[in-house]
Symmetry: C2
Subunit: 342 residues, 2 copies
Amino acid sequence: MSATMQDVAQLAGVSVKTVSNVVNGYPYIRPATRARVEEAIVELGYRLNVSARNLRQGRTGMIGLAVPELSQPYFAELADLVIQAGEDAGVTVLIEQTGAQRVRELEVLHGERRQMTDGLIFSPLALGEEDRTEFAVHYPLVLLGERIFRGPADHVTMANVEAAYAATRRLIELGRRRIAVIGAHPGETVGSAGLRVVGYERALTEAGLPLDPALMGPVVAWHRSTGADAMERLLAAGTPIDAVFALNDAMALGALRALSARGVRVPQDVAVIGFDDVDDARYSSPSLSTVAPGRLQIARTAVELLMARIADPAPGRPFVEVVADFEIIERESTGSAVAAST
Amino acid sequence: MSATMQDVAQLAGVSVKTVSNVVNGYPYIRPATRARVEEAIVELGYRLNVSARNLRQGRTGMIGLAVPELSQPYFAELADLVIQAGEDAGVTVLIEQTGAQRVRELEVLHGERRQMTDGLIFSPLALGEEDRTEFAVHYPLVLLGERIFRGPADHVTMANVEAAYAATRRLIELGRRRIAVIGAHPGETVGSAGLRVVGYERALTEAGLPLDPALMGPVVAWHRSTGADAMERLLAAGTPIDAVFALNDAMALGALRALSARGVRVPQDVAVIGFDDVDDARYSSPSLSTVAPGRLQIARTAVELLMARIADPAPGRPFVEVVADFEIIERESTGSAVAAST
DNA sequence: TCCCGACCCTACAACGTTGTAAAGCACGTG
DNA sequence: CACGTGCTTTACAACGTTGTAGGGTCGGGA
């Protein structure tokens, strides 16, 4: 089949190990020898057998990235960035989808794919704080998101409370007083939903505004359709509303649609702000104001942390928690830039 | 570190090969022996070493999927489906991004990642018919898309001409006469752009409508922003237009935005139809009529074809070309379902 | 002169698995 | 009673690479 080091060695008249040394950039090789070997490599079209190297070295050169599903733009864009960050770090990223199902998330943590990677970046959605022990794995692990804190792993997260506070605060500064929130998970205090609602409430309270339960649009899954539905229900209920804070962009875009279907003008009648700064937010109409959660920083940091763990798996090292920087992006849906392109 | 077959064998009091046989479901094993081995496996928490198996068997159990970029929803959704199809077929899908750059596409074809996979599903965007020879590789390859025909590989594509024809025809049936097309690549005859334009022109001609160059909105890259720009230019030029066929949904959504910014009503003043049936199309406002290109079918077929090639790499077998079924999805932007949700 | 270190190269074993070949056993058949 | 057949298990070698240990050679300092 394809050429091995054996073949190259023979053709170049050296030992197999010398070929290996050339391939791996070992410095003490006579230029002449190196040249001969390289020539032989080209001539035979030799390619290193990754499986053999993996076996010998006990590493695979791959890291896993487990997300709920790629068809959600937030995760697709995250995956894009993680793949690139991995490339820069010299590793291949293997993407896995959990569908946000508990069994599949457990499978990701303990399943056979873990045999194929040197470490895992994991954004859990079904598993939570109560499953903390599941995360005590024997391979390098970096967690993303808000579901697990003080877990036995490094952790990259966003400033959910602060960012939600800032978003809501901005709406208040714009003179809005009846600010609905879409995407709350009633009773939840720990996931993105819970934390963002805390920020929302903090901003209202601080401004002396009441926390009106009629302004809460609960939602099961954070999709476009559920966002539209929640908005529908709020409108149908007749509660006066002059702004909406959607806990992610997908729901915000759904809400925009529901508002426009009802003939409600955005931002004149109702201002809308989302969360995620998905690519789409820029191109909806009206374009969507939102919170940019520092995706690039998250991707890079996660890969860096993981690579550090892989390089030095010393079990004693304390776990790191990194909070990414966020930014409020103001577009048309909050009215700061009215009427759009000339 | 972790247990090997050696350890399991010792604990169960059998040979290594017997453990291997149990693990691989070899039938001729006494139930008692099998039980002892399985017990030992559980007790030691044994997991098969994939690298060793790969080395021994000369296969990796992975297939590659190379797409331009995951942040484009069409490809993210495709990747999602291919990963699932791979799962069903018992292989792991390794995603690679080319950024639609020529060098990176060549790298995907010939680079070292090909060492890590048993085959490749490749959707090229920079390479074309003229690079045909590059695709004559020595591993199983399935091509997606319209850039390469009669290449030396299996091929899964869509009925671009027919689908574009049907989409345009539908606009004509709705009484539209001044139908602009957004996304044309002037002079191109082979890629998705070229083919879809052919379908568009065929429909016009057949209906006795003129092919007005003023209705052509050329575009470099198929993004939301370029779609919006092209729409802008068409509107600014003042050419009368009563419908738009955007060659993909991203551009159609951009066009919707440009239209609404201008105060043009969709579908009353201008009907819009896209191509791809991206998830977003369902949730824009107005919701976007589009061509569903049979993504699921494409994903499944591609994986099937690839698996067949991997199972039987006989070089003689003629290359297959599969054309996926399409469907016209009518939503609000073409006016069939006016005014939206109750 | 001898020895030490820097440089260059090599033989060997090992990583964990599976394919091959074959051995042992029990059973029934001719 | 010899023999083939089906079942169950095993020893051995191999997949292609790299770590270890060491064998040379050469030049310079003691």
